[in-house]
């Protein structure tokens, strides 16, 4: 089963659940029409049901794939085929760059509360450039400074948006 899909669906179901609970404080119907709780309540229920259905669908697909894998494994054993590359799945390793970038951005956004937007952003994009885009640290820092300088010129100097 794709865990990322389960995370997405469970997240959406929780979000819908919170809205469903709070929608009970809003009127469902009013004189001659529907109240502000009508749409959120119905769609929150629909979202939760769909999340359940999609998780079940993902589980069934996974079971089907798993069976296929099992059959292939049995056939390979029977015909004494080599197992091929039995190394660790790269799926987990693939997740590292986006996960670390997301965490860095959440951290940087938290630090932005203390005043500067560009400073934490600069540190984040330097790390992303150096670690995941394979630039040297010096080149990554130089590219980040150049990027932020252009952004500063456009947003702050020209458009007067206080991004510093």
């Amino acid at each position: 089963m794709k865990y990322s899909e389960v995370i997405l669906l469970v997240g959406l179901a929780i979000f819908a659940g919170v809205l469903l609970k709070d929608s009970f404080s809003l009127s469902y119907a009013s004189d001659g029409g529907f109240g502000p709780g009508f749409i959120p309540r119905n769609f929150a229920v629909a979202t939760i049901l769909l999340a359940g259905l999609l998780i079940y669908q993902a589980y069934r697909e996974h079971r089907g794939e798993h069976r296929g894998e099992l059959r292939r494994e049995l056939r390979r054993t029977a015909t004494a085929e080599p197992a091929g590359d039995a190394g660790a799945s790269p799926a987990l390793r693939q997740l590292v760059p986006p996960a670390v970038t997301i965490l860095l951005l959440f951290g940087a956004t938290y630090l932005m509360e203390f005043g500067s937007v560009l400073a934490p952003l600069g540190v984040t994009i330097t790390i992303v450039s150096a670690v995941f885009l394979n630039h040297s640290w010096v080149k990554a820092a130089a590219l980040s400074v150049a990027t932020l300088a252009v952004i500063y010129a456009i947003f702050s100097l020209w458009l007067n948006i206080p991004v510093l």
């Binding site: 794709k2 990322s4 899909e5 997405l8 669906l9 997240g11 959406l12 979000f15 819908a16 709070d22 929608s23 809003l26 009127s27 009013s30 001659g32 029409g33 529907f34 109240g35 502000p36 009508f38 749409i39 959120p40 769609f43 929150a44 979202t47 769909l50 999340a51 259905l53 999609l54 669908q57 693939q94 997740l95 760059p97 986006p98 970038t101 997301i102 951005l105 940087a108 956004t109 932005m112 937007v117 952003l121 984040t124 994009i125 330097t126 992303v128 450039s129 995941f132 885009l133 630039h135 990554a140 980040s144 990027t147 932020l148 952004i151 456009i154 947003f155 458009l159 948006i161 991004v163």
Partner: protein, 500 residues
């Protein structure tokens, strides 16, 4: 008709001074740059330029503002095509086929096609504005809440076409979008819904959502896939950037259809360019002989919505100038500007201040022409700029998205929103959830809910009101045709796939 042409000639006579021509050219360029920046659309562009018009003559001030408005519509498509980050909401659809073309190394072609289609759309909208403004706008006032609701419902019914292979996933995305749209003040009852923090009173900013969903989501996904763009080395070979005759021929019919649809939807207050582009994309996919090319770099999927987008600008000016009704944010600020200049938008505007209105329209015609020239000439610059930074694109997009989200309200709140939707967009893309229905639901959901509840109140609780009025009945039939037609088309396509 001759009267309109005479008035337009008078408008040109007023506007054709060196100062005004330079001003319109600069306004178009500024609008293009502002529109290209994530987070800044027509409303922001006009608002930013408004203080500059305080000391200007009325005609110059209005030319500056309308030029910026038109320029933002051209600019929104640039980052959509180049980095999959729409500058504003109407440019979302542009990314669907423009960005795949860019990934295929045809970014110049995509920018060229979109510039030409934008020009044709804008020109068509202007022609309607010039010749039919008073006539067309007089019909718009006959639309009531039931018709508006059904117009939104027709838009929502197109979700089935944007759904892809798994309809359940599309429904999930739609429900999520509608729930997001319920956050904030309820326009019918005035009650607050799900206000967990003060910033949510007006709901979640739509632009922050698209910055996260498309910009950051794409970066996270590419980082996971370790996708590196290979766009080649910077080159100034013009043939690479000018669309071929075959490409222009392929885009001709979608451009024309998009121009008509954009103008019509632009006239309807509240519908706006975003709805128009979604409707046009769906219509083109439905009409296309090769719908499988849509979303993979189809020229029709790029040209049609681009023409729609720019045709909706003059379209939205029709109810503003003739009835005083602003269709959406950008025209609402324009309304403020007209009042600031001492003009009174409404039926008497053309009578009392016709010279200023016609000069503004003439300014728009000039702006559209300048924008075509400047945008075509700037294509090599944009494409080569992207080629120069392609090795560091992820960092540049992250920086632009974060600063763009910050600029929406000068606070970190919208950055949090963009980040959250960046993660949602990444997970949706990774698991094959279509983002089109989600965005459409966010745009249309609140409007549809608002009009639906008002219509039911008009009918005193009786939903039969939707069947009693001829326009609403026609819209129900159109919606039914879209749903049934799409269902059978999909079945036919699946059967063909199974056979092959």
């Amino acid at each position: 008709m001759l009267d309109a042409l005479n008035s337009l000639a008078g408008g040109f006579a007023d506007v054709l001074t060196v100062y005004n021509v330079l001003l319109i050219f600069a306004a178009g360029l500024i609008g293009t740059v502002v529109g290209a920046l994530p987070g800044l659309g027509p409303s922001a562009g006009i608002a930013l330029m408004l203080p500059l018009t305080f000391g200007m003559p009325h005609i110059s001030g209005l030319c500056l503002l309308t030029g910026v408005y038109m320029g933002t519509m051209y600019g929104g498509r640039i980052t959509s095509i180049l980095i999959n980050t729409p500058g504003d909401a109407p440019a979302i659809i542009t990314a669907m086929d423009g960005y795949p073309l860019m990934q295929q190394g045809k970014g110049g072609l995509a920018l060229g096609i979109s510039a030409v289609s934008s020009f044709v759309g804008g020109l068509f909208g202007l022609a309607v504005l010039i010749f039919f403004a008073p006539v067309v706008s007089s019909y718009a006032i006959y639309l009531g809440a039931p018709e508006y609701f059904l117009l939104m419902a027709v838009g929502l019914s197109t979700i089935i076409l944007l759904a892809g292979d798994n309809i359940l996933k599309a429904l999930m995305a739609t429900c999520f979008g509608i729930l997001i749209g319920t956050i904030g003040a309820d326009y019918v009852s005035g009650q607050m819904r799900f206000i967990y923090t003060i910033e949510l009173i007006e709901g979640i900013d739509f632009v922050a959502i698209i910055i996260g969903l498309y910009g950051l989501g794409e970066v996270f996904y590419n980082l996971e896939q370790r996708k590196v763009m290979n766009l080649g080395k910077p080159s100034f070979n013009l043939s690479e950037y000018i669309p071929s005759r075959a490409a222009l021929r392929e885009s001709a019919a979608p451009t024309l259809r998009g121009s008509i649809l954009g103008t019509v939807i632009g006239i309807v207050p509240g519908a706006g360019a975003t709805v128009a582009t979604f409707l046009d994309y769906t219509m083109e996919k439905r009409l296309s002989k090769s719908p499988e090319r849509f979303g993979k770099g189809g020229i029709a999927g790029l040209a049609g919505p681009e023409a729609t987008n720019n045709a909706s600008v003059p379209g939205s000016l029709i109810p503003l100038l003739t009835l005083g009704i602003p269709g959406f944010g950008g025209t609402a600020i324009m309304l403020g500007a007209l009042i600031m200049f001492g003009l009174q938008p409404g039926p008497l505007l053309m009578v009392n201040s016709g010279d200023i209105v016609w000069a503004t329209i003439a300014g728009l015609v000039l702006a559209n022409l300048f924008l075509l020239l400047s945008n075509v000439l700037m294509i090599p610059l944009f494409v080569n700029l992207l080629r120069a930074i392609q090795g560091n694109l992820a960092s540049v997009v992250i920086a632009l998205c974060i600063v763009g989200a910050f600029s929406l309200s000068y606070s970190s709140f919208n950055i949090w929103i963009a980040l959250i939707f960046g993660v949602v967009g990444y997970l949706m893309k990774k698991n094959g959830y279509p983002t089109g229905p989600f965005i459409l639901a966010i745009v249309l959901g609140p409007l549809a809910e608002n009009y639906f509840r008002r219509a039911v109140m008009m009918g005193q609780g009786d939903v039969g009101i939707f069947l009693e009025r001829p326009i609403s009945l026609s819209l129900i039939i159109i919606m039914g045709l879209i749903l049934v037609g799409t269902f059978f088309a999909k079945r036919r396509m699946n059967a063909r796939r199974a056979q092959s």
